[in-house]
Symmetry: C2
């Protein structure tokens, strides 16, 4: 069986749990506590040199890291990734947007505030992150203003990728009340068959 | 003809110029000066909401952003991207590594030091970036210690993606002398047919 090295609160890990559940691929979870440095041990970096979760271990014993690369692999030839090459490129565009312009600004304040419980200590850093994070949310809001999903008017891994940290943005101090298109899209994602919540394992 | 919205000093733009040249796809360049805010005009954000280069315009008038998504699209069914699904996932793993754990730490010091000429002003920020940047270089060095290329023992877009900012790391104050495997790999990449340098248009 597939094995997912996983941290329940991580949005990046949640992407894999959500996709595999919706695709219907069984997997077992191994808890790795990132707050205790468990991703930086020699034993863990033998699985992922970069010392981060999620990491997927195949039945053949091979490892794959990077949440969006793992999603791409398991969504090929499913309804969650278009077969058309141009549409697939659009999916990747949004997934790279997520990792470069979105996740670093949404995930980190949530980690500081809701995982570490250190909102005061990180006050200035949170403010800096929010500036870029709101810019990313504005990009999403504009894109979604005349469509239901990110690519091809259907639910794909681009939506899963962006949903992971957007739907818990409030836990990082973000106010989504000025983003009606994002809120409608969040509800649509949550209404998909076999949807699971972030702490559900 | 394809049109590339391009900034010559940008490593992300260089990836596209290098790949398209090696694949043999003709394209025209439109210079966009990121130092003058030219990616943040309404005219430009109508092409890429996220206000960044590179952006590719197809002959059909459609736009694609994110350097690694553009590379994926144009390398499909070429020697620069494996057909095997697992190998392709490995390529994506390294491209997401590049955008998340590498580029933010290698590109920005180079921009501050060599593009803006403000090494003194950004001294502390550069030091912070170097810590994570050297960690990324160490990951690359370890991975390359027993292989020639990043994936499948051949030159792919994973190599192009990581080459773009690694080969000019010294312009961001990095010392690569302790990374012999990276240096050997850089030379191997530069020795590929139809290689072009970063400022060559």
């Amino acid at each position: 069986m597939l094995r997912l090295y996983d941290f329940l609160l991580s949005g990046n890990c949640y992407k894999i749990r959500l996709l595999l559940t919706q695709v219907g691929i069984p997997f077992e979870r191994v808890d790795v506590d990132i707050t205790q440095g468990e991703t930086r041990t020699p034993e863990f970096t033998s699985k992922n040199l970069n010392g981060r979760v999620p990491v997927l271990k195949t039945e053949a014993g091979e490892f794959l890291a990077e949440s969006n690369a793992i999603m791409f692999y398991f969504s090929e030839n499913t309804q969650f990734l278009p077969n058309d090459s141009w549409q697939r490129a659009q999916v990747l565009q949004w997934l790279f947007f997520e990792q470069y312009s979105h996740e670093p600004y949404l995930a980190t304040p949530r980690f500081w505030i809701s995982v570490l419980g250190k909102a005061e200590e990180y006050r200035d850093a949170i403010e800096q992150k929010h500036e870029a994070g709101y810019a990313a949310l504005k990009v999403m809001e504009t894109h979604l203003s005349d469509r239901s999903f990110f690519v091809d008017e259907r639910y794909t891994i681009a939506d899963i990728g962006l949903f992971a940290y957007t739907h818990v943005a409030d836990k990082g101090g973000y106010d989504l009340s000025k983003f009606p298109a994002i809120k409608a899209w969040l509800e649509l994602v949550q209404a998909q068959p076999q949807h699971i919540s972030i702490t559900q394992s």
